[in-house]
């Protein structure tokens, strides 16, 4: 045994991952890396214990692949592409500009643990480089002068958008596909718009769930706290029919919840807490 005491959180992550990936080491380490943004020492030891492998083998794999890191990463990860196409189009100047702005070199993290800077060998967007990815959001044709703005945008929330200003964020009005009763609640506002009101049950709990009616917003409120990854059963508060469909969430495979859009079209959302799967068909 490499580890005598284990935090329950870590153990549950490792256990779930080992089960999911059939003891496949790289995938397990990838899950841990994704969750913590690095591989904590305890995690590596725990994996060694659980897989009954010598620690040196785990360390060998973890140090061989670039995707793994032994150092804690910042809250936001900035990845600048240094593929050949980005290189000839000025990628190194972008890295210089980020280094100047944040005072960190590639592979380092700011002292306040806000930003980590990484470089990638190629992100596959070669036609529109140089490419910078911040927390999964891609920026194309980046110029050194844009770096400051990108970093500031990250600080203020990269997915936060001003709905008045942006034409692509818009509210939808929905009704129950069975009884056609409106599901809109005008008294409770989420994101400053009337919200969608349904009832849900999970485990032994039953209560209301309010969702933002903005297409593209993931804001919700609920009567009970819903643990991550819980798959909810959703119901119409008027006719009490279960809202479900044969349509599967493209991300996690759960059966999606259908809602009718007033005026035509349907919107499906994934009933799994934390999953961002949704589809709007017009």
């Amino acid at each position: 045994m490499y580890l005598s005491e284990v935090s329950t959180e870590l153990e549950s992550i490792v256990d779930a991952s080992i089960k999911k990936h059939n003891k496949f080491l790289i995938a397990v380490l990838q899950d841990i890396q994704r969750h913590y943004n690095y591989l904590p020492e305890d995690a590596i030891k725990l994996v060694a214990d659980k897989l009954e492998m010598p620690l040196r083998d785990i360390y060998g794999v973890a140090s061989f692949y670039k995707a793994f890191s032994f150092n804690k990463k910042g809250k936001h990860i900035i990845t600048a592409c240094l593929g050949t196409a980005c290189h000839v189009r000025g990628g190194p100047k972008i890295v210089d500009a980020i280094t100047k702005e944040l005072n960190i070199k590639p592979g380092e993290t700011t002292k306040d643990m806000q930003f980590s800077l990484e470089t990638a060998a190629c992100l596959g967007c070669c036609a529109i480089g140089p490419i910078v990815v911040v927390d999964g959001v891609y920026f194309s044709n980046v110029k050194p002068t844009m770096v400051k703005k990108i970093i500031e945008q990250t600080k203020s929330g990269i997915e936060k958008t001003d709905i008045e200003k942006y034409k692509h964020i818009f509210p939808v009005k929905v009704s129950c596909p069975r009884c056609n009763h409106s599901l809109m609640n005008t008294e409770h506002l989420i994101d400053n718009y009337p919200c969608i009101h349904i009832t849900v049950s999970f485990g032994r709990k039953h209560g209301w769930l309010r969702l933002s009616s903005l297409y593209g917003s993931y804001s919700i409120e609920s009567e009970h706290e819903i643990p991550m990854d819980t798959e909810l059963n959703c119901f119409c508060p008027h006719c009490h029919t279960e809202l479900t469909s044969s349509f599967e969430c493209p991300i996690c495979g759960a059966n999606m919840v259908p809602l009718m859009i007033r005026g035509g079209g349907t919107v499906h959302f994934c009933p799994r807490r934390g999953c961002k799967g949704h589809m709007l068909d017009v």
Binding site: T84, H87, I128, S246, G265
Partner: protein, 1077 residues
């Protein structure tokens, strides 16, 4: 949906989908692959959905979100089916307009695709040249498919190959089809796929299991076709894998995909799940007894895992270190089981072959290389994206026809293929048909299809360094030659790129390369030296430039270049220093720095063509610093305050006599420096005035004569003797000068003879050579121009061929505009028109001059060339012109103008000034023992300005043909150094040094607010004399920057010189001093 459990059911299911009545409502196709999303496709999609919802258009229009359609550069776009109208680079605010038009079956032309240099609008996808010349067998499918909706794939004819194979799972037949189709691996090595499958099928090591692996570990930087196919059409890969599985008898497949491709992972996971649900994947598929399922394995960021044995180890969960082959994976693969590994694109071709049959498939491509190949055409090229062409297509077709040639004004010099394992192919070899063997032969490889275009702003040493750096990081470390060798190569290349290289280094690299190739076990090491060896092979000159001349033409290598402005300046002006001094309000010091390297400071501050500004880093993504205007601010300050108006002549000369022939910028510069060194210099000038082209060729409104006089007086104060009205050949000879005791001669007589058009009727009255007109106008002589004046710049292609294209054309277009503007000022014609045979894009004259001419009412007819002169009683009456269009790319890297048949037209003219170019007059030099080129320019050693005759040097326009003033000044400086070496008995040889500023100036501290303002600040523009005020007089047009403007402009400078090791040292010292102090 319910699982399908029999072949019959599957056939009728497919049929029912295909038989659905065609839906004729317009469909908006929005491509949202990773590249599309990066360009904002999601916003377009939401804006479109919003508009459709709000305007109840559900019945009238539908939306399909697809993967990338290849032309990433025009993303985000809306493609409107069925017509395939395309709206490129769409903004969210334009989405409503576009949808409205689509519903009404109208088009909005101004939002449609255009190539920048012609006016034609391309409405449909098929018309766009980028698409028109491709054969998009694989890529065209993406348009019909929303990758997360499997029904789209069926609707587009998908799984018909699967149906064929599952109905008749005859392994022999499948393999024979693939063999007959001559399909070869698209991942790089080009191994015959049919043979690999056959080996895998026959392999029986008793382990009981077999595997199929789809290699989507697309590690070559610059290649992304696998991402595209997997993201945009994952079912196609699944179909290919099932067929492979059936053919070799495998029950399980793995897709090994890079973790850098999250969307590809997501879409393939969805696709696999959907295929399982339908019953295409899993156990006992369609009750046939065949089992096949697919699992996704995400890579973890190791390039070497693209190598098949390393990939197998990685799938097994181990370190991805390659193994010795044989045994090959088809015999002993994952966990010892036979494993067949194919690239994504290879598998994508499998359903195509099965569907259309091998006989049909081999009609595309060439023997030994059938079918199409996808290339990612990226880098310095106009149209960038994924290009699919038949194998055997030439590089030229891909780069120039589909890619549309260079992205800017820089010429394309090479492409790089095969990623870190490949090499570069220079432009001279672009006629090469692309296939596996042809690329090998020239030292590169096909690789996965990355094709990175490089132009003159790409440094080949830097590229080699880039790849060796990549490889030394990615080398798994197993073989020491690869591990240490790539590292050593990288160190040597770093030395060269930082100006510390030696010629021995080059030899060492060439020796090291083959050793690494021979002694490495896997493909990574065996190909690692390719980028280095290929760049040395084709671009040896660039290496030598770095090593000997300390030059990086592309201005990429930081330690060599220091600041690009100083580096680019032909006379090594300390730009960053004087700009920094202006920012600190030390104007006199700034002027001193300028004068240090430049005797023509005031002249050049007005008329220099400022190559420095073209390379200024502030100009990348913003405006370049107005360097020339800042210089003018300093020199004007000097004139006002009477600073440095004369120089100290040496107290006592050394008594050695030197003759300088010609008093233009080159001759006077040489005289100035020789006089300062103590020589007794005599300048001989044919005209009665000195200054050469500065006096005769450049109009006063650009260069006021009192400004010119400032510099001429300054130069004269160095103490030379000047003899005017003294013509070589008439009044004296070179031999005569030597007899008189002159120990050395510098020839700088310029290039004053206007070239002829070479068209009928040119000799008549009314047609005036450009130089003659300009000299007359500049000297205030009276010439009669009449009311209607035409100026021709650029003649026919016959003239073109006889000139050194780019450089000559700079001068040609400058004199053409000078002539037009001078004519307008001095003789008051009613209209002045310039006829130019290319477009405004190609005009190399300074933009401000072209704009100035426009403001003054001068018309410019682009794409127009003269055909013949029409005369009346021996006098000019009119000129017939022909319209041109831009054709193929010529040797100058620009598209050559070609006449449009039947477009001739006539313009009535009183005077036609022919300003196509000038050549030197060498009639007086015939018997002086010198050699001349076919353009009548004198042949010298460009390193030293020495002619073929000892002691006789030459420089300026008589060597280069018409050229810029600063280059002439530079030649004068080089000549003065060479003459000094010659006369002091030293070896005549140019000395090269790394560019460094003469001193480092402390940067100005900025507040955050000030910094923000400076980042977004535009370039300070000089006030101009209004176009009313400047008509019919010679007042200077440009009025100079104000002090406030100058300081602000100087503060915008990015201070590149502080980013070198030396510069950083200076900054560090500064910090330490501050801390102590």
């Amino acid at each position: 949906m319910k699982k399908i459990s029999s072949i019959e059911e599957f056939i009728s299911f497919r049929k029912s989908i295909l038989n659905e009545p065609a839906d004729n409502t317009p469909t908006l196709v929005i491509s949202a692959g990773t590249c599309g999303q990066a360009s904002g496709a999601n916003d377009i999609m939401r804006a479109a959905k919003r508009y459709i919802l709000e305007h109840h258009l559900h019945e009238k229009v539908s939306i399909r979100v697809t993967g990338c359609l290849g032309f990433c550069q025009i993303e985000p776009f809306i493609l409107a089916e069925p017509e395939n109208y395309i709206y490129p680079n769409l903004k969210t605010e334009d989405v409503p307009r576009v949808i409205k038009a689509i519903v009404k079956k109208e088009i909005i032309k101004e939002l449609m695709y255009r190539e920048n240099d012609d006016d034609k609008t391309y409405c449909t996808l098929e018309e766009i040249p980028f698409y028109k010349y491709q054969t998009r067998t694989i890529l065209k499918r993406n348009q019909k498919i929303d990758p997360i909706r499997v029904f789209n794939y069926f609707k587009a004819g998908g799984y018909s190959a699967f149906e064929k194979v599952i109905s008749n799972p005859d392994q022999e037949w499948i393999i024979s089809e693939i063999k007959k189709a001559e399909l070869r691996g698209r991942g790089g090595a080009g191994f015959p796929t049919g043979l690999k499958w056959e080996n895998a099928r026959n392999s029986n090591n008793g382990s009981g299991k077999k595997f199929v692996v789809c290699n989507a570990d697309e590690g070559d930087p610059g290649a992304y076709m696998d991402r595209n196919v997997l993201e945009g059409n994952p079912q196609l890969i699944i179909e290919g894998m099932i067929i492979a599985g059936i053919a070799i008898g495998a029950t399980k497949g793995f897709v090994y995909v890079r973790s850098e491709y999250p969307l590809a992972i997501k879409h393939s996971m969805i696709a696999i799940r959907q295929a399982r649900d339908i019953g295409i994947l899993g156990e006992n598929i369609l009750s046939t007894g065949i089992d096949f399922d697919i699992e996704i394995v995400r890579g973890a960021g190791a390039f070497v895992c693209g190598e098949e044995t390393a990939l197998i180890k990685s799938i097994e969960g181990k370190m991805g270190q390659p193994e010795q082959r044989p045994p090959y994976p088809v015999d002993k693969g994952i966990w010892g089981h036979p494993t067949c590994i194919n690239n994504v694109e290879t598998l994508a071709n499998v359903p195509v072959i099965i569907n259309e049959g091998a006989d049909e498939y081999i009609k595309v491509g060439m023997p030994g290389a059938r079918g199409t190949k996808i290339f990612s055409l990226v880098g310095k090229i106009k149209n960038t994206g994924l290009v699919e062409v038949p194998l055997g297509t030439t590089i030229h077709e891909v780069v120039n026809k589909i890619g549309g040639g260079p992205s800017g004004k820089s010429k394309i010099k090479a492409i790089q293929t095969g990623g870190p394992s490949g090499g570069c192919i220079p432009e001279e070899l672009f006629d090469l048909p692309i296939n596996y063997e042809s690329l090998n032969k020239v030292g590169s490889i096909m690789g996965s299809g990355g094709m990175i275009v490089m132009d003159e702003s790409t440094c080949m040493v830097d590229i080699a360094k880039y790849f060796t750096n990549f490889l030394q990081e990615e080398s798994c470390g197993k073989c020491s030659v690869c591990r240490e060798g790539t590292q050593r190569m990288n160190e040597i290349l770093t030395n060269i790129s930082e100006g510390r290289g030696t010629m021995e280094d080059l030899t060492l690299l060439e020796e090291l390369g083959p050793v690494i190739k021979d002694a490495s076990m896997c493909g990574l090491g065996q190909t690692a030296p390719n980028p280095v060896l290929a760049t040395i092979k084709y671009f040896r000159e660039e290496y030598i430039d770095h090593i000997i001349k300390k030059k990086c033409k592309a201005t990429v290598c930081k330690e060599i270049v220091s600041s690009p402005c100083q580096y680019t300046c032909p006379i090594n002006t300390d730009v960053s220093v004087y700009v920094a001094l202006i920012a600190r309000k030390k104007y006199a010091e700034a002027l001193e720095v300028i004068k240090e390297t430049n005797p023509f400071a005031s002249v050049l501050s007005r008329i220099c063509h400022h190559p420095c500004e073209n390379k200024c880093k502030a100009g990348e993504g913003g405006d370049p610093i107005a360097i020339r205007d800042l210089k003018r601010f300093a020199t004007d300050y000097g004139i006002e305050n009477n600073l440095y108006s004369t120089t100290e002549p040496v107290k006592k000369t050394n008594g050695i006599k030197v003759a300088v022939i010609g008093s233009g910028p080159s001759g006077l510069t040489c005289s100035f420096y020789l006089s300062k060194m103590g020589y007794e210099v005599t300048v001989f000038e044919k005209e009665s005035v000195i200054g050469g082209m500065l006096t005769l060729g450049i109009p006063e409104y650009r260069l006021p004569r009192k400004i010119l006089k400032v510099d001429l007086d300054y130069i004269k104060s160095a103490g030379m003797e000047i003899k005017t009205d003294f013509a070589l050949g008439e009044d004296y000879t070179i031999d005569g000068l030597l007899d008189q005791g002159y120990k050395s001669v510098f020839l700088a007589t310029g290039s004053h003879q206007s070239l002829k058009l070479g068209i009928p009727g040119e000799e008549v009255e009314g047609v005036i050579p450009g130089m003659q007109a300009l000299a007359a106008l500049n000297l205030g002589k009276k010439i009669e121009l009449g009311k209607r004046v035409g100026i021709i710049g650029g003649g026919n292609t016959a003239v073109d061929a006889a000139r050194r294209v780019l450089r000559a054309e700079t001068s040609e277009s400058v004199t053409m505009i000078d002539a037009a503007r001078s004519a307008l000022r001095t003789t008051k014609p009613e209209n002045v028109t310039i006829f130019y045979r290319r477009t405004i894009e190609e005009i190399p004259a300074y933009k401000e001059e072209v704009d100035g001419a426009g403001d003054e009412g001068i018309k410019i007819e682009y794409l127009t060339a003269p055909v013949r002169i029409i005369t009346n009683k021996g006098k000019l009456k009119a000129c017939e012109f022909i319209r041109m269009k831009l054709g193929e790319i010529d040797e100058s890297g620009r598209r050559r103008p070609v006449p449009i048949k039947g477009s001739e037209f006539t313009v009535e003219l009183d005077t036609l000034i022919v300003s196509i170019s000038e050549s030197p007059d060498i009639s007086f030099l015939k018997n002086e023992g010198l050699e001349f080129s076919k353009w009548d320019t004198i042949i010298i050693d460009p390193e030293t300005c020495l002619t073929k005759r000892p002691g006789i040097f030459a420089g300026g326009d008589m060597v280069t043909g018409p050229n810029t003033v600063v280059d002439a000044v530079a030649a004068g400086k080089i000549a003065s150094e060479s003459i000094d070496q010659y006369l002091t008995g030293k070896e005549v040889k140019r000395e090269y040094k790394l560019t460094r500023p003469s001193k480092y100036i402390e940067p100005v501290e900025f507040s955050n607010k000030e910094l923000d303002e400076l980042i977004s600040a535009k370039r300070s523009e000089m006030p101009l004399l209004s176009s009313e005020k400047r008509k019919y007089n010679l007042m200077e047009v440009n009025q100079g920057l104000t002090e406030e403007q100058a300081i602000k402009e100087a503060k915008r400078c990015l201070r590149c010189e502080l980013e070198t090791i030396d510069g950083k040292k200076f900054l560090k010292n500064l910090e330490e001093v501050e801390e102590r102090g």
